[in-house]
Symmetry: C2
């Protein structure tokens, strides 16, 4: 018998005394060491070792982060000495000295987690500058205003990030920025880089005074004090609020921790033959194979990202800095060739010399992910398996989501254009703050978040919005990056728009819109429209429905390629949860291979049926109940005929009536009165009966098989309807339907045995009456822990198990999905659930019960059919789990069928089968 | 790692070809073979082998019963031949022939399950008679009317039991009986045994005609046909309705099956030197060592049982049949000496010769069970261990509950019956609301709280009442649960009663009672009486309270003997669930060794505290909440001081606030208005807040540790109160209290970690402030499946586990205790639950999770403290399970502590340690 597997998760203790890994002339790491060095550190090491021009530095490993949090924010004893040696090695390679007044080494200190979390954690640049070394830098660079500009930037960043000088409240501005603006105004300067040496010196004095005033501590002058302050701040930022939120969103475990990268500074702000930029080896929005990115001359990296100056497109560099551009093109090719993926890399040119500061697999839209994977395969760079594994399964959704109705878009008033940064079409009410976006969303309204630029603080507001519109910043700005990652529609850098936060207005080309007005953005084209625009079906959907030709839609071709590849590699069957023939048809178009869950109760809500259903529920005895059921029988039979016809000879699992009966009864007095009149019953009787059916915990009450055991006539009617429908299809269409009857909420084998008897008896009767033979299965949902625990017994009766993981999660965790709202925010904030257990399967808890049920169920019945029909069946990581568990199919909602097909293929590839 | 043990429960297949076991001149079985032969068959074999005068016969084993139900009511192929050989052997021993017209062998065919189920299954006597053999019997007995009386009895019994001739409906009489009465009337005879041979012959003709008319089949004349008909009927009766009901009641598994005993008939109706009787070796009501029983001369056994003629007391036999009486006294002594238990045996005297037809351990009252066990030990018949194991642990309860004066109860008017839910007798004035109950109680009156059903709001009223009567809800309803917990008398689900809250009346079967009228309820029987019936405390309670001397109460001496023995053998510690010092004192008097569960929320309902609690709940932010908590702190601290003082240095486990907050809020508008006025809040705000706190499934909602995680200030206040109370006791009394803080509803280790941090922080602070050191533990309740599944992780943080098996059962089974009423009756009828899973631990489901949790928890923390505090902790069979699971203690309600002490000893003895 297979046992529950050991899940000993004792904290990873450092298994080695090596905490510091160099890169540069000597390189200790490589790209495979992401867990230990983080993505950034591992890739810096890799680039150094393949000869790309990386400034030297070292990485403090993620093990130190774990140690840091396990030991009250302290470090391993040996770390101080290791860091000292590493920094001296960097100084030697650069020919400088750390804290050396005459010839100072400056470094950057950056975070770097296993998976990139852009902008979520802290960064410090220009570290090593103090009142003395700034003079040394002035001398060796021959550019005193550059040196003082670096120093004032460093103080500002350090004061903010390490020493905690913050704006008084959300409305007030960054106090460093206030001083900068005052100084510029006094000096009559428009741009930061116009300030003179003396003006910059004055700024430094004021900044230092601000820090002393706000924090009660002086800005530190010792280079090592600065370094340890920065290292602590970076490790500390792993648990800041936005990092936590981000991890929640992307399911990154809190235990991973971040590494810290310390790297020699190179200066893009050292003059006009210097510059800095961010580039993508392909277009991260469309996926097209073009060199994509932007740069600024005489600037540091933060200027590009912050969107303070609008950067130039990378193509312009061919004219402005032709030699560097040629080098950059070579780097672009080398990176893709080496890393076999689209790269997002940062570079700096210092005095005409190119340095690569980091590279990572570029974030991309869903569309781009698919296009890049398919095209890289066509180019021979990667094989099909690698291509499939490169596509986040959820990406497929972006090919299926609605676009603007072409005519409606034509008719709408375009007010301006911006950069297309997150494809798709979005329409909604204008919100100028993240908070307002959340408020509108909670009202149930669609929202477009409109900001001059976004910062990590806006993450929650972005999550609540349909789309994001910014007036500043390029395609690598924060807004663009996050939008692409969240799959949000985004237009950025729409420079014609002016936002007035105080007046809560947005003005563009003479059109003024207020907060709450409708606006529409097309993230595929960059266009911005006044008012609401109706959306239309995606190209893929139109091809599937025959209103667009396949050869006219490249999007469809990409979709089809990915689906074809997926079908080749996956072993899991994909079914769908559908209750109507319309849903069934849609699912089949998307590739569904059967129905894994038909909820028969949905059929009872339609039209006037609800009255017959209510009559059945209000019946005082079996005779009256049978009377009412007789009226429901032909309707239910017709529904099944429609459903079976839509599915052809694909398998269909029908779940017998599941919800508590009171769910069908009216809640307000007027409807109760109408019902009483209609059924000719006294109102008081109706009210009393409804009261009698009231339940304290309906989730755990009289539902599922408990209904069928209490009222076998309901089971009889439903089974009769199913088998008569099958007989009708067989006789009229000649199609063989093999229904699978599913008994819900079974926890005891005797429950299943009781219902099984009814099913078999009625099935036999119908087959006899209709003169047909029907192959069918009877099985159960596994949705309470006891069913999983006693799977060996239940499999004596059940021919299949379908895991109902919604309810199984509710019961295993003792957690009502409907009631978790009250505390869920706080749970997220405290990272108590690593992911929402209703969105992604709780593998440690619920998953272990499933493993147990599969092992023990199969022991009793080796050919037990196994599937899952909870919401989790559409979640890629849960699908991966289900594949490894040995299930035969997953059954998800129709729109998620394509995602499930891809996810199933990836699961098979990852498992090596 | 210990794994979930294999529970392969594949049906027991016959492992031997031997299905038939003889007793008589050759005896195949013995008393240890109850499983295979049933109790009756095993004991017949045993008696035969020790030389008691048993008529020969044979037993068809329970394996055949299993086969019978597994194979569509057919028999193993070899059975027919085996039975034929066995019956021929019996015929030889009796010197007769089966179906032999000249010298016929007659047999009885009876059921016999592993545990006796008296009267529940079918019996056939005088089998082998037909139109020919009756003449033979007439000749060899020399008594034709005896022969024809046997024949007519046989036809009547066979027609009823095997051929299914039944009364037309419940009101109409047994048709055989109707014919008998007509015949007697026509003949002018008063008694059956006055009928003449001819009249009996006429009766036989009429009976056979009745059978042919009613069943369409002739009464079978072939002796073997008769035998197989009878065997099938007896096996079939294993699943008749009353047998099922009986098994439910006594927890006998349906899988056991019955054996069938075929035995040569002897005749107590063969003349005046013949007779039959039933005797007990001691008085089964009082347990006193006197010969007890009754007999009839010239009668068959059924006449004694059916009560057609009034039997005589066994003592009279000494005069009437002195030789037989002397033999019987010898048999009585021999049976007790051999079986080492009080025996209930049947005998028949045929022509002056004594036969013993069966013996079994006699059913007895609780009192008798204890007295017999203790006295048999004193007599040297059994050792202490055997004596302890002979007492059903529940019996102890009968020594503790108050009782009605028997004569007064006899004289009172019974108005209806309900479910016996809290044993004992209570009488008092009717109160229809909790408030009224309190008013009456404060006047010094005894009160019975009468409600359709109770809710947590009624707790205070229940505390003030002698007993609780409800018209809805079963033995596991809120009323029943709380009543048992509080040791209150309770009758619930008295469906014949209608309560009219407006008119303040209670109507039952034509009797109308008003509020303030006296009513009496017997919670041991479920009966409800009009008016006052005097009751008294049990003798044991009076001795424990010092109002009766120990030496004056034999009952107390019995109690104390059993408790002393129990304490000697048990290894489990017995704790109690208590929330007040009064409960704690009672529990200590009963022998509790600690508190395993103090529900802190109960402290919030008392007096005016509920208002402060409500203010806390209605607070809009942490500041307001802390304000309200400040008022609750001193009250809670004083409660703990009282509790700790009552418990001395015994361990006390305190569970932090557990129920959803809305349980504390008022449900009716008037009280809401009062509350709003009192707190100076707008009524609408109060209503809105109550609405916002509403939950669909409160059982799975914002409760347990979720509350403390959401509102850490509540945890802080509670922990502060506990530790300040411990400090006070330590300083003032010099007593060391080591509190155990229990975090409820934990499913994730992160939940526990969060609350643990708060507990440790506050504890440290109090210790520092008060200058004391306090040893304490922090642990968790295991009450959702995930906690059990991830016990290894949770034990990293938890220093103890306490199994909260009420909630663990609800979540594991997906079954709300409050809502199962709707279908529970039907589930019982269909034997879907072998026992109510809330009364007795579901060992297959919940138990397996517990095993898993214990094994994995201990792996992480070998010294993990383990206990149980669910209601199951007071259930003997669950206590047995807990002992074997390796728990250190069970914690039950105060009145169940003595039962638990005994049950724990029995568990240890059964386990051989």
């Amino acid at each position: 018998m297979k046992q529950m597997s050991d899940t000993s998760t004792a904290k990873a203790q450092p298994t080695t005394q090596k905490f510091v890994y160099n890169f540069g002339s000597q390189t200790d790491g490589n790209a495979t060491m992401r867990e230990l060095l983080g993505g950034k550190g591992a890739n810096l090491a890799e680039m150094a070792s393949i000869g790309l021009p990386v400034p030297p530095g070292f990485t403090i490993s993620t093990e130190v982060c774990t140690y840091f949090y396990d030991h009250d924010r302290t470090y391993p004893a040996s770390l101080a000495e290791d860091v000292k040696q590493a920094i001296q090695s960097v100084a030697e390679q650069m020919g400088r000295g750390f804290g050396d007044a005459a010839n100072p080494l400056l470094v950057s200190v950056r975070s770097g987690a296993r998976d990139s979390m852009p902008g979520m954690m802290d960064t410090i640049l220009n570290l090593g500058l103090n009142d003395e070394t700034v003079e040394g830098l002035a001398k060796i660079s021959g550019n005193p205003s550059f040196a003082w500009d670096c120093y004032r930037r460093f103080i500002q960043m350090y004061g903010d990030v390490v020493m905690g000088v913050e704006a008084a409240n959300e409305e007030s501005e960054d106090p460093f920025h206030v001083i900068l603006e005052e100084t510029k105004k006094a000096a009559g300067k428009a741009q930061d880089n116009e300030l003179t040496e003396d003006e910059l010196k004055e700024l430094v004095v004021k900044y230092k005074a601000l820090i002393a005033r706000e924090t009660g501590s002086e800005f530190p002058q010792d280079a090592y004090d600065q370094l340890w302050g920065a290292v602590g701040a970076v490790f500390g930022s792993w648990k800041n609020e936005r990092a936590i939120l981000y991890r929640q969103q992307y399911g990154i475990p809190a235990e991973w921790g971040t590494a810290v990268n310390v790297q020699a500074m190179v200066f893009g702000n050292a003059g006009n033959d210097s510059g800095t930029g961010v580039a993508f080896t392909r277009d991260p929005a469309s996926g097209e194979k073009v060199f994509y990115g932007e740069y600024l001359t005489n600037a540091q990296g933060e200027d590009v990202v912050a969107g303070v100056r609008t950067p130039k497109a990378i193509a312009e560099m061919a004219d402005e800095l032709p030699e560097n551009f040629a080098d950059l093109e070579k780097v672009r090719a080398r990176l893709e060739e080496h890393f076999k993926d689209m790269q997002d890399f940062e570079f700096t040119i210092e005095g005409g010399r190119l340095f690569i500061l980091q590279t990572r697999n570029g974030k991309r839209t869903g569309l781009a992910a698919i296009r890049i994977a398919v095209e890289m395969n066509k180019e021979g760079l990667i094989d099909q398996k690698t291509a499939l594994l490169m596509i986040p399964a959820e990406s497929v959704d972006t090919l299926l989501v609605p676009v603007f109705d072409p005519e409606a878009q034509e008719a709408a008033k375009k007010i301006c254009g911006g950069l297309p940064a997150g494809p798709g079409a979005a329409t909604g009410r204008i919100a100028f703050t993240a908070a307002q976006a959340e408020i509108e969303a909670r009202k149930g309204n669609k929202v477009i978040l409109c900001r001059s630029e976004t910062s990590p603080d806006d993450l929650k507001g972005m999550l609540h919005s349909q789309g994001i519109l910014t007036t500043r910043g390029g395609v690598s700005s924060h807004a663009a990056l996050v939008a692409r990652q969240l799959g949000k529609v985004c237009v950025c850098g729409a420079g014609d728009i002016t936002i007035n936060y105080e007046k809560k207005t947005l003005v563009a080309n003479g059109v003024t819109l207020k907060e709450g007005d409708y606006i529409s953005i097309n993230g595929t084209t960059g266009s911005v429209y006044e008012g609401l625009i109706e959306s239309a079906d995606s190209e893929v959907k139109r091809v599937l429905e025959g209103t667009l030709k396949a050869e006219e839609s490249y999007t469809y071709q990409l979709f089809q390629t990915v689906m074809d590849w997926s079908d080749e590699f996956r072993t899991l069957r994909i079914r769908t949860n559908a209750d109507t023939s319309a849903m069934a048809e849609q699912a089949v178009a998307f590739g569904a291979e059967g129905i894994g869950l038909c909820r028969t109760e949905h059929m009872f809500f339609e039209g006037s049926r609800i009255d017959d259903m209510r009559q059945m529920i209000l019946a005082v005895d079996g005779v009256q109940r049978r009377e009412a059921l007789k009226k429901l029988l032909p309707m239910q039979r017709q529904d099944f005929v429609g459903l079976f016809r839509a599915m052809g000879d694909r398998p269909v699992t029908i779940r017998l009536l599941d919800p508590p009966l009171h769910e069908f009864l009216p809640h307000d007095d007027a409807v109760r009165r109408q019902l009483a009149d209609k059924l000719g019953l006294p109102l008081e009787f109706v009210i009393d009966r409804i009261k009698a059916l009231h339940e304290e915990n309906p989730m755990l009450g009289c539902r599922g098989c408990r209904l069928g055991i209490l009222y076998p006539e309901i089971t009889e009617m439903q089974v009769q309807a199913v088998f008569e429908a099958v007989a009708e299809i067989k006789t009229n269409d000649g199609t063989e339907v093999n229904p699978e009857i599913m008994i819900p909420l079974v926890g005891f084998k005797a429950e299943l045995a009781d219902q099984l008897k009814v099913v078999r008896r009625v099935a036999e009767q119908v087959m006899k009456d209709k003169g047909v033979t029907i192959d069918y299965l009877v099985g159960t949902m596994v949705e309470v822990p006891r069913a999983a625990i006693t799977a060996d017994e239940i499999a004596e009766q059940a021919e299949f198990f379908s895991f109902g993981t919604n309810d199984l999660t509710q019961t295993t965790l003792g957690l009502s999905r409907d009631d978790m709202g009250l505390f869920y925010d706080e749970y997220q904030r405290k990272e108590i659930y690593s992911k929402n257990p209703f969105a992604s399967l709780d593998k440690t808890g619920v998953g272990k019960l499933m493993q147990f049920a599969v092992a023990n169920g199969k022991q009793t019945r080796p050919d037990l059919k196994l599937g899952i029909c909870g919401e989790h069946a559409g979640d890629p990581s849960s699908i991966d789990f289900c594949h490894n568990l040995g299930l035969q199919y997953v059954s998800c909602s129709p729109p998620r069928v394509p995602i499930a097909r891809l996810a199933a293929a990836q699961a098979a590839l990852r498992a090596g089968n």
